[in-house]
Point group: C2
Chain length 514, copies 2
C-alpha cells in the first residue's frame, strides 16, 4: 500500500481525538500547521511575482497589526504559489535589498568611538559618576545591536509570531539551502546564517514539548510519522501499530506553533539484548515482555523539516528520552542504537573504482592476501588474471545484490566488509569529524561505536547503502559527556575493543583511533 493509501486508511480506522485532549489542547484554526501545508497545494492560483514582492515589502515596512496579519497571510500564500525559480529570485531580493542600513551603523560607530572608556570596573569609589558615564555606552550599544539586524529580521520575527509562520520559515530556509547548493552567493549565505540563528533560538529545547506518540494519537499526527519515517519505512498499519505498541516507544519533539507534527521523532524497542539485526526489531513477534527488558534500542530517528538542517534537535531528544526511560523503567540499563552506515558502500565503491584506475587508495591494500585468495576461489567463474578488488567491485555493484543469494559469498565477504566498515567508521574523516553522517551524529552526542552486525539489514536500502551491515552505537550514561567533549575538541572516536580489533593488525594496537 502506498503512503497516501495508508494515510486514508489511518484516517478512517482511527478513533477520534479523545475528549480530554479535545477539551484541553486548544488550537485556533489558523494556527493549524496543516493550513500552511495545504496552502502549497490549494492556493496554487498563479500569483504575480510583483504582487508577492509587494506583500513582502508591506510585511517588512508596515506598522499596523491587523493589516499586518493580512499582509503576512498574503505573503506566505503568495510565496507558496511561486515557481521554484521565482522563489529564488525573491529570496535574492530579500537578501540584497533588505539588508542592514550601513550608513546608520557607521554613524553609531562614530559616536561610539568618540566615547572614553571609564577606568576600572565601574565599582570604584566614584561609582555613580562611572555609572552615569557608562549609560552612554549602554545606549549606543543597544542601538547598534538593533542597527546591526538586517531589515529582513523584521520579516522573520513577524512571521514567527504569525499563525503557521514558523513552519513557513522552515520552508523558506529549505529554499535558501537549495539556492546555496546551486550557487555560493555571499548575501544568501548571510541570509541563511541569520535565519538559522533565529530558528535555533525559536526552536530552543526549552520551547519543545516531549510527546510520547501512541496509538491514541490523532490520525493526522500518525500520518506524519508514516510519511516522515526516513530510516525504516513503515510498510502498513500493523507495522505502525506494532511500533507504537507493547515493548516499543516512540517520542517526538513538538513545538506549540506547529501542533500535531513532531519536528523530529525517535523509535525505541525495549529488548533483552542489544539487537543484531533490524529484522528482529521490526518483525519478531511477540516482543520481549517489558518487565524483562534491560535494553532500550534506538532503531530510528527521523526529522520532518528539511529546512531545519544543521539545527541539532536529535541530541536533546536522545538525552531526554534516555532520562525518561531510565526513570520510568529502572531495569533498563543499556542504551544503544541499531544504525545504518549510510555512506559506507558509496565510499567503498568509489575507492574500488579508483583503484581500478590504478589510483592508490589506502597506504595499505584494500584486501589482505588471504582475503583476495578466498574471494578469487569463490568467484571461480572467469576470475583468471583478475585482481581481488575487481572481483569485489563487480560483486558489490551487481544488480539486485546477487551476492546475497549465495551463502558462500556471504561468508567470504563477511570478514572483508566488516573490516572495511570498521576502517570507514574509525578512520575516514572530513574536517576532523567522522565522514559518515549518522556516525558523526551519534559521536557528537557522546556515543561510542559498540558493535558491527553482519547481514543486519537485508532491505534494498540497507544493502545498497551499508552492504547490509548495521552498527550499534552505545550511549553509556557515565561517559556521554566525556566522549562528546573529546570528539568535539579533538575528533577522537571512541570504539569498543571488538570494533577496533577489525583493523588493529594495521593500526598496531593503538588504544583507540584518533
Amino acid at each position: 500500500m502506498n503512503k497516501k493509501g495508508l494515510a486514508i486508511l489511518l484516517r478512517s480506522k482511527m478513533r477520534p481525538l479523545s475528549p480530554v485532549s479535545k477539551v484541553n489542547k486548544l488550537q485556533l484554526a489558523p494556527l493549524d500547521g496543516n493550513k500552511v501545508a495545504t496552502q502549497s497545494d490549494s492556493s496554487k492560483t498563479p500569483r504575480d511575482f510583483g504582487q508577492v514582492r509587494e506583500s513582502m515589502h508591506s510585511v517588512i515596512s508596515m506598522n499596523r497589526k491587523e493589516i499586518l496579519d493580512t499582509a503576512l497571510s498574503e505573503f506566505s500564500e503568495g510565496y507558496f504559489s511561486l515557481s521554484q525559480e521565482n522563489r529564488h529570485k525573491l529570496l535574492l531580493i530579500l537578501a540584497r535589498e533588505y539588508d542592514l542600513n550601513r550608513s546608520q551603523v557607521r554613524e553609531l560607530m562614530k559616536q561610539y568611538v568618540g566615547l572614553e572608556i571609564p577606568k576600572g570596573d565601574g565599582t570604584d569609589e566614584h561609582g555613580h559618576e562611572v555609572e552615569g558615564h557608562l549609560s552612554s555606552f549602554y545606549r549606543i550599544e543597544r542601538n547598534l545591536r538593533h542597527a546591526l539586524n538586517p531589515m529582513y529580521a523584521v520579516l522573520f520575527e513577524r512571521l514567527n509570531t504569525h499563525p503557521g509562520g514558523l513552519k513557513f520559515l522552515a520552508t523558506v530556509r529549505a529554499d535558501i539551502l537549495s539556492i546555496i547548493a546551486d550557487e555560493n552567493v555571499a548575501s544568501i549565505r548571510a541570509l541563511d546564517s541569520y535565519l538559522k540563528e533565529k530558528l535555533i533560538t525559536w526552536l530552543s529545547p526549552a520551547n519543545l514539548e516531549l510527546h510520547q506518540i501512541t496509538w491514541d494519537d490523532p490520525a493526522s499526527l500518525l500520518e506524519k510519522i508514516v510519511a516522515y519515517e526516513a530510516v525504516h519505512p513503515i510498510s502498513n498499519l500493523i507495522d505502525l501499530k506494532r511500533r507504537l505498541g507493547t515493548g516499543r516507544r516512540c517520542f517526538g519533539y513538538i513545538h506549540p506553533a506547529i501542533p500535531g507534527e513532531p519536528l523530529i521523532f525517535i523509535e525505541v524497542a525495549l529488548m533483552k539484548n542489544i539487537a543484531c539485526t533490524i529484522q528482529e526489531v521490526l518483525w519478531h513477534d511477540p516482543p520481549t515482555p517489558e518487565c524483562e527488558a534491560t535494553t532500550a534500542l534506538f532503531y530510528s530517528i527521523s526529522s520532518t523539516q528539511p529546512g531545519l538542517a544543521g539545527i541539532n534537535l536529535g541530541k536533546f531528544l536522545i538525552k531526554r528520552v534516555i532520562h525518561l526511560v531510565k526513570k520510568d523503567m529502572p531495569n533498563i540499563s543499556n542504551f544503544a542504537t541499531l544504525s545504518p552506515i549510510p555512506g559506507f558502500m558509496q565510499w567503498l565503491l568509489s575507492k574500488l573504482a579508483s583503484s581500478e584506475r590504478s589510483v592508490p587508495i589506502f597506504s595499505e591494500n584494500i584486501l589482505q592476501p588471504h582475503e583476495e585468495r578466498a574471494l578469487l576461489d569463490a568467484y571461480s567463474e572467469s576470475s583468471e588474471g583478475r585482481k581481488g578488488m575487481e572481483v569485489l567491485l563487480q560483486l558489490l555493484s551487481s544488480s539486485n545484490h546477487e551476492w546475497t543469494q549465495s551463502d558462500r559469498f556471504i561468508s567470504e565477504l563477511q570478514p572483508i566488509l566488516l573490516r572495511l566498515c570498521a576502517r570507514y567508521l574509525l578512520c575516514e574523516k572530513k574536517r576532523g569529524k567522522a565522514l559518515d553522517s549518522v556516525a558523526n551524529f551519534h559521536l557528537q552526542n557522546g556515543a561510542m561505536i559498540g558493535r558491527l552486525n553482519w547481514m543486519a539489514d537485508r532491505s534494498e536500502k540497507g544493502l545498497t547503502q551499508s552492504g547490509g551491515v548495521m552498527v550499534n552505537y552505545i550511549y553509556s550514561l557515565e561517559h556521554i559527556e566525556d566522549y562528546a567533549q573529546a570528539y568535539f575538541s579533538t575528533g577522537h572516536i571512541q570504539a569498543s575493543h571488538d570494533v577496533r580489533n577489525y583493523i588493529e593488525p594495521m593500526e598496531k594496537n593503538e588504544d583507540s583511533i584518533n
Copy 2:
C-alpha cells in the same frame, strides 16, 4: 479558609491526572517548574556568597555540557539561598563585571570603518564582485552582533535551556526590578533591558500554548489559579468549581518549559447581557444556559510572574480567546470586560486632600454647585461652614466605607463619583497614556470604554480602590485594530457616548476625548 488550606483541600479532593494526559504529556522530573519553586524553601541552607558568585562565573565561562548542568543547578539553588541583599550585590556584579568586551567591539569597528561600501544594490552587472566584497561586511557585522552581546547573555541563554531555568530567570528579573525601584543604576537598567528583550523572544506567543483550564486539570495547576487570581480572590472550592463550570471559561497561556503553571490566565463568563456588577458574575446561580448567551464577559485577568512585568502577554491572550470563543460559539457577538478602576480612589483622595491645602486641582471645580448642595444637605451633621469637598473627602476616607451603609449617601454620591470616574479615565494621562493601569492595558489592546457601573463591586477591595465603580471595556471586533493604533500613536481614548456624557458639559461636546 486561607489559600494554603484550600490548596491542601484541593489536593485531597481532586481526582488524579487523567490517563490520557498522563501518557501523552510527559515531563522529566527536573523540568517540573515546581522543583525550582520549592527550592526557594527547601534549599535555604545558607550558602556562602562567594560560592554562589563562583558558580555564576563557572556557568558563564565553562565549556563542557555535563558539568555545566551541575553548575547551573548549583547556581540557581545557591541564588535562592541568598538574602535579598546578597542577591542585589550579585546582580550588580553580574551587570558590571560581565558586561561586554569594549576593546573587542572597538577593534571590530575599526575593521568595519575601513571597508568601502559597494555602490548599487549588489545586483549590478558585476554581481559576483560585489558579492565577494560584501562578504567582508557580512562577516564583521556578524562578529559585531556577537561582540555586542554582554557576557551575561551566556548566563541567560544557558539558564533558558536548563530545566527550570526560564522560571528562575523570571525570579531574577523580579529581583532586578526591585533594585531599580530602590535605586536607578545605569548598569542594572542595561541588565534589565537586555533580559527583558530575551524574555520577550523566549515568551513569544508562538511558544505559548493556549490551555483551557477545567475542573479536570491537575490540582497542582488549579492551586496556582487560586494562588494567583489577583482581581477577585477565589474564596472556596465551590467558587473555583463554578468559575470552571457551565457558563464559564478559563484560559491560560502555558510555556513548555514551565509546565502546569499558566503565565497568565483569563476568566470568562458567558451571559445574556454585559453584566453591571461583579456580584452577579461571581455568585448568581444558575448561570445563563450557554445556548442563550450572547456575551463573553472577561471578568478577571491575572499574571503569575512578577518578573515578567512589562511583557504584554495579556494582549495576545485576549485576542486568541476572542477568536476561539467566537469560533466555538457563533451566537456570542459581544466581547467585554467588567473591570476595576484600581487607581481611581487613590487619585481622587489625593486630589481632594491637596484641594484642602488650597492647591488648585482641576481648571474646573471638583464638585458642581448642585452636587455640593446635595452633599451638604445629606451630610447634615456638623456640615455648617464646611465645603463640599471636605465632606466628600471625609465620607470617602471613612473607615469601613460607612457611606455604603446609607441609601441616601449612595444615591447622592452616584452622579458625583461616576462623573469624576469618567473624568479620571478619559482625561488623566501619564506620558500620553491613560493613568489607570487597567484602562491603559485594555486601551492599548484596542478596547473602548463602554459603560460605568455604580455599586458594581461592593467588596472591601472594590470600594477601597474604585469606590465600588466598575467599567465595561468593549472589544468591538471590527474596531480593535483601529482603536489600538489610534491609542498607540496619539493617545486617543475611544469611549461610548454614555461615558463621554458624564463630562461633556465640561468638554463642550467634543466627539471624543484626546
